[in-house]
Each structure stands twice: as structure tokens, then as C-alpha cells.
């Protein structure tokens, strides 16, 4: 008699075991992001639809667009917004002009054995607190400060730079320069030097080679550097508070002011949301424009 084949379900499908590894490794960061990133944004988002009772001065939780209306239509805030954008963009351009040659040199020109040391030197300022480094600039830029002592005789350098837009830009460039250098350095280091040799070989001068080959091939680093630099500068309030003039404030200061002094949380929250949206849209457009898939053909 032929043996009847009885599939053993138990053997085919082993008892399901819960695999804890992905749950823990993915769960903890997810929880962290929800707690410290999603929740605050949702909270601020909710605040931005609150309003202030004009009689009692207390916040009411009705749904209101009043804060947004003021944030988007007030000429004063439009002006401050544009000023913030101008200062952030100017700082980014100045930083890029300094960061690119340095990052490129460390990544593509310096001997590989020296690269680690040079990057360490770039990062050393990070060992000192942002605020202390910004205070140091006060000492340098103030009347009869270090800068004036040294180059005071140069026409136009006689006065104090402190509490001016120039001081704010200097402060930003100094504080955030290293995080712009890093991605530029990385992309310069990863670029195959044969591309440069090939361009020379085909008759391109060093300058033409830079324009047609080096610059496009290091553009991912430039883009990452711009993004990493621009975002914190755009929302910054400490640097303009310490180094800038009272008539030249930035959005970050306005937002901090709404929360800390004016106690108009809905308006501060609405300004925050507008800033966040602007940065988000700008980044999406920027990354689409500089999509590596687009550059290298997927």
C-alpha cells in the first residue's frame, strides 16, 4: 500500500517568532523623531491657529487664521523676512567662496596622509561653544577692539564694525563655515582625478577644466554645503542678537521675541510655520534642480 503523503504543516511553517532586532533598531529612532521633532512641530502648528483674546490677553484655542493673516500681510514682517533672506544668502555666498577652495584643496590637492589633520583643524572651532565664539567677535569688532587696533589705519576700517550687518555676516560665516567645508571636501575627495586629466588631455585649459568638469562633479558637495549652511543661518537669532544692530533684526529674533517677551505664541508660531514652509519648499526645489540621478543618468 502506498504511503499517503500528509503535509506536515508544523514543519512547513515554523512557529512565528517575533524578531526584536528591527523593532528595537528602528523603533528607538522613530520614537525619538516623533517625540522631539514631529510633536513639537505639530504643537507649534496647533498654536499658530490659536488667537489672543484682546481683552484678557490670554490665548484661546479656537481655530483662527488671524496670526497667519498678520504674518503674511504685515509690511514690517515682509521687510524683516526679505532682510533675513538677504543676510542668509549673502552669508552663504561669502561662506561658499571661502569653503570651496579650502574643501577642494583638502580633498583633491593635499596628500591623503595630511587630509585627516587638515579636516581636524577645520573642526577644532567646534570644540568651543557657539556663544563663546560669537562673544569673541564682540571683542574683535568693538570700538578700540582687536580689528581696529590692527587695521584701523585702512580707510573705512576706522569705525567699529560691531552691531552692523557686516558683523552678523562675519559671525555666521565663522560659526557655520566648517559644516559647509565638510561636504565639499568629501565630494572633492571622491572625484576621480582622471576626469581632470582627461579634460586637460582633450585640450581644456585648467580654467576651462574647472568650469566644465571639476565644478559640475563637485556640485553635490556644494549643494549639500549650501543647504547645511543656509538652514541654521536662516532661522538664527543668537548671532544677530549679539553682533547685529537693533534696526537690522532677523526673523529668528522676531519669533523668539513673540514667545519670550510679547507672549504672543500664536503669532510666533505662525511666523515659525511660514519660515519652515519656505525652507521646505526651497529645499525641495533645490534638490530637484540638483538631483544626482539627473546629473549622472540614474
Amino acid at each position: 500500500m502506498a504511503m499517503e503523503y500528509v503535509p506536515n504543516a508544523e514543519a512547513i511553517r515554523p512557529r512565528r517568532q517575533i524578531d526584536w532586532v528591527p523593532i528595537i533598531t528602528l523603533g528607538i529612532p522613530t520614537l525619538f523623531v516623533i517625540l522631539f521633532f514631529v510633536m513639537p512641530i505639530v504643537l507649534i502648528g496647533r498654536y499658530s491657529f490659536n488667537s489672543i483674546d484682546p481683552v484678557t490677553g490670554l490665548m484661546t484655542t479656537d481655530w483662527s487664521f488671524a496670526a497667519y493673516e498678520r504674518a503674511l500681510t504685515s509690511p514690517i514682517y515682509q521687510k524683516i523676512f526679505l532682510r533675513t533672506l538677504t543676510i542668509a544668502l549673502t552669508s552663504t555666498i561669502v561662506a561658499l567662496l571661502l569653503a570651496y577652495p579650502l574643501g577642494y584643496f583638502i580633498g583633491a590637492v593635499a596628500e591623503p596622509q595630511q587630509q585627516g589633520t587638515l579636516i581636524l583643524l577645520v573642526l577644532i572651532p567646534f570644540w568651543t561653544s557657539y556663544v563663546i565664539r560669537t562673544y569673541a567677535w564682540i571683542g574683535i569688532l568693538q570700538t578700540n577692539g582687536f580689528l581696529q587696533e590692527v587695521v584701523g589705519w585702512v580707510p573705512g576700517m576706522g569705525g567699529s564694525l560691531l552691531y552692523s550687518r557686516a558683523a552678523v555676516i562675519i559671525g555666521f560665516v565663522h560659526v557655520y563655515l566648517p559644516i559647509m567645508i565638510l561636504p565639499i571636501y568629501a565630494s572633492a575627495r571622491n572625484m576621480d582625478k582622471r576626469y581632470i586629466e582627461a579634460a586637460h588631455d582633450l585640450g581644456a585649459s585648467p580654467f576651462r577644466t574647472f568650469l566644465r568638469v571639476t565644478l559640475p562633479l563637485t556640485s553635490p558637495g556644494i549643494i549639500a554645503g549650501i543647504v547645511l549652511f543656509f538652514i541654521p543661518v536662516f532661522g538664527s537669532f543668537v548671532t544677530p542678537q549679539l553682533l547685529g544692530g537693533t534696526g537690522d533684526t532677523m526673523m529668528g529674533q522676531q519669533i523668539q521675541n513673540q514667545f519670550g517677551e510679547a507672549f504672543n505664541w500664536p503669532f510666533g508660531a505662525a511666523l515659525s510655520m511660514v519660515m519652515t514652509a519656505v525652507v521646505l519648499v526651497a529645499m525641495v526645489l533645490f534638490f530637484r534642480f540638483a538631483d544626482p540621478e539627473e546629473i549622472y543618468g540614474g
Binding site: D192, A198, D201, G203, A204, I295, Y296, G297, G298
Partner: protein, 358 residues
């Protein structure tokens, strides 16, 4: 002086060191116009460094390179009439195939419509007329290789330099590209200087082969010269001679030398080289079913498709490698069989260098 006017590239006493390492140790050679010349050697022999110096990517410590009679000195690559096909191709990843090929002409300020025409002609030459708009990453290795070639050829260099351009391809594609490269070279008539460590590749394509070792030229000649008449033990072994044997000289005159190998006399039609000598005989020149010769025993047999490869131990203990065509004309030997091994003195070569010295 007659040689000079015929040469596209003349190299005189070229020396290049990197730190303490001598990469090129006094090389002199002439590359005739329109020739396909191969620098052949193992890695570190100085072949790539020499090529890079011709292209202007490295500068010699001493010596001089002349291209069509003009000393190059420290002329940068973009001002030289040479072009390099890199081992890694180095196609610009952000440009399409068409843009890559057009690059050199754009830098020479050639008119737009002419560039368009010449790029299309190049795409036809490399037989990829429909792939002009792809990015290099979207092409296969063989296709990238052809684009790299087209990008260099379009600027019509005096000399095209190729640095192991087929190194990254698989064997079948490599064979195909070897024939293709040779076809393109004949078609465009430009001097090619080709660097490889693959002796078969060198034999297939080259008009002249320069065998290099330790920064020096070991031998220079046609493919047949190098293969049939190796000038040194190194070249013989590098070309896969298989049997490099100890011999004693018995007699010699201006045109021939008689030597004793394992108890029998062999007369080789060449004068006696200086110093110690060895006898070189290729495995495929040995016969195993001779009526007369050296008696030996088969100790190893390997089937190689078109060939049977046997290791034979002679009665005096000398081990020899023989290769016999695998067809119905050849008797098949088993391990342990006794064979009568023989070869003609005309097929053998005497080279300087003692056995066991290296």
C-alpha cells in the same frame, strides 16, 4: 637621422623616479609613424609611467620626449598633440555620450554644425550611432570603452595613448575589442601606443612590441621577433616559452651553436650569446612520438580544449612541458606512459641567463 623623420615619438634616455623608487630607468625608443606599438610588461615595469610622460601627465627627471621632432619638455597635456584613453575610461559622468565626444572639439572652438557632423561620424565609426544621448553610466563596459576611444580620436591626435583600455572587460569582449581596435587603427591611420601586461593581447594587435622590465627595455621588435626569438630569459618566460633549459656549449661558429642538452647534441642556428646561456623551446614545438630523441615519462596530463598539455620527465630528471594538438592525428598519452621526445634545433632559441639565477 632617417629614423627621426619617420618617428612620431622619439624617447631619449628617459628617467623617472617616485621617491626612492625608480619607475623608468633610461629608456630610449622610436615609435614609427602610423604604427601600433605596445609596451608590454608586468605591473611596476614602468610602461604606464612612460605612457603618462608621453601624454604630459608626468614629467621626466631627465631625458627627453620628442613628438614629431619637437621636444616636449614640460608642455602640459592640453598643449600636446596626444590623447589618452584611460584604463577607467574617465568618461565625464555628467555629460551624454555625444557631449563627451564633442568635448575636445568644443575646447578647440570648432563650429557647432561641424562638431555635430564629426560626432555623428565618430558614433558611426564606433558602431554606436543610436546611443549618443545616453549617459556613460547607462552603457556597458565595452560601449564605454568605444566612447572613450571616439572622444580621443575626434581631436585627431598625432599619437593615441591607450593605458590597458581593455583591462576591465571580460575575456570574450576583450578578444572582440582587440580586433575592433586594430580595425579602427588601420582605418584612421593614427599612431597607437598601447600599454598592456597581456602578452596575447600584445601579439594580436601590435606592429611592434616593446617588452619592459624594471624600468628598462628588455627587447623591442615585431610580434614574431619577440615570440620566436626572445632576446633574454626574461622575455622568453614572459612570452610563455614554457621550457627554459640548462645546456653546455659544445661548439659554435658565426651562424650556429651546438649545445648539449641532457646527453644529446642540439644545433641552434644562431651565434653564441655572451655569458651563461639557456635553451628555450616552446611547448607546442615538442613532439612526443618521435623515433629518436630523449626518452621520458608522462607525469601529468591536462586537457585544455584544443590542446593536450603534458609534463614529461626525462631520464636525467629534467622536467619539460609539451603541448600537442587535441585532434585525431595525435596519439593520446596517459600518465606513466613512456614517450620519445624530440624537437628541431631550428625551433629552439639560445638566450643569455643561467638557470637558477632568477
Amino acid at each position: 637621422m632617417a629614423m627621426e623623420t619617420m618617428s612620431d615619438v622619439s624617447i631619449r634616455n628617459l628617467v623617472k623616479t617616485f621617491g626612492n623608487a625608480v619607475a623608468v630607468d633610461g629608456i630610449s625608443l622610436e615609435v614609427p609613424r602610423g604604427a601600433f606599438v605596445t609596451f608590454l610588461g608586468s605591473s611596476g615595469c614602468g610602461k604606464t609611467t612612460t605612457l603618462r610622460m608621453i601624454g604630459g601627465f608626468e614629467h621626466p627627471d631627465s631625458g627627453e620626449i620628442y613628438i614629431q621632432g619637437k621636444p616636449m619638455g614640460r608642455t602640459p597635456p592640453h598643449a600636446r598633440d596626444t590623447s589618452m584613453v584611460f584604463q577607467s575610461y574617465a568618461l565625464f559622468p555628467h555629460m551624454s555620450v555625444r557631449e563627451n565626444i564633442a568635448f575636445g572639439l568644443q575646447e578647440r572652438k570648432v563650429g557647432k554644425s561641424e562638431i555635430k557632423e564629426r560626432v555623428q561620424a565618430m558614433l558611426d565609426l564606433i558602431e554606436l550611432p543610436h546611443l549618443g544621448d545616453r549617459k556613460p553610466k547607462q552603457l556597458s563596459g565595452g560601449q564605454q570603452q568605444r566612447v572613450a576611444l571616439a572622444r580621443s580620436l575626434i581631436i585627431e591626435p598625432t599619437v593615441l595613448l591607450l593605458d590597458e583600455p581593455l583591462g576591465a572587460l571580460d575575456l570574450k569582449l576583450r578578444k572582440q575589442m582587440q580586433i575592433e581596435l586594430k580595425r579602427i587603427q588601420r582605418q584612421v591611420g593614427i599612431t597607437f601606443i598601447y600599454v598592456t601586461h597581456d602578452q596575447e593581447e600584445a601579439l594580436t594587435m601590435s606592429d611592434r612590441i616593446v617588452v619592459m622590465a624594471a624600468g628598462r627595455v628588455e627587447q623591442e621588435g615585431s610580434a614574431e621577433d619577440i615570440f620566436d626569438r626572445p632576446a633574454s630569459r626574461f622575455v622568453a618566460e614572459f612570452m610563455g616559452a614554457g621550457n627554459v633549459l640548462p645546456v653546455q656549449v659544445e661548439s659554435h661558429d658565426a651562424t650556429s651553436t651546438s649545445v648539449n642538452f641532457a646527453g644529446r647534441a642540439v644545433t641552434v642556428p644562431q651565434p653564441l650569446p655572451d655569458g651563461e646561456i639557456a635553451l628555450v623551446i616552446r611547448p607546442e614545438k615538442l613532439r612526443l612520438d618521435s623515433t629518436d630523441g630523449w626518452q621520458g615519462k608522462v607525469v601529468e596530463s591536462v586537457f585544455k580544449g584544443s590542446m593536450m598539455s603534458y609534463r614529461v620527465e626525462l631520464t636525467d630528471g629534467t622536467s619539460m612541458l609539451a603541448e600537442v594538438a587535441h585532434d585525431d592525428t595525435a596519439h593520446r598519452h596517459a600518465i606513466g606512459d613512456t614517450v620519445m621526445l624530440n624537437f628541431r634545433g631550428n625551433d629552439a632559441t639560445l638566450v643569455p641567463g643561467s638557470i637558477g639565477a632568477g
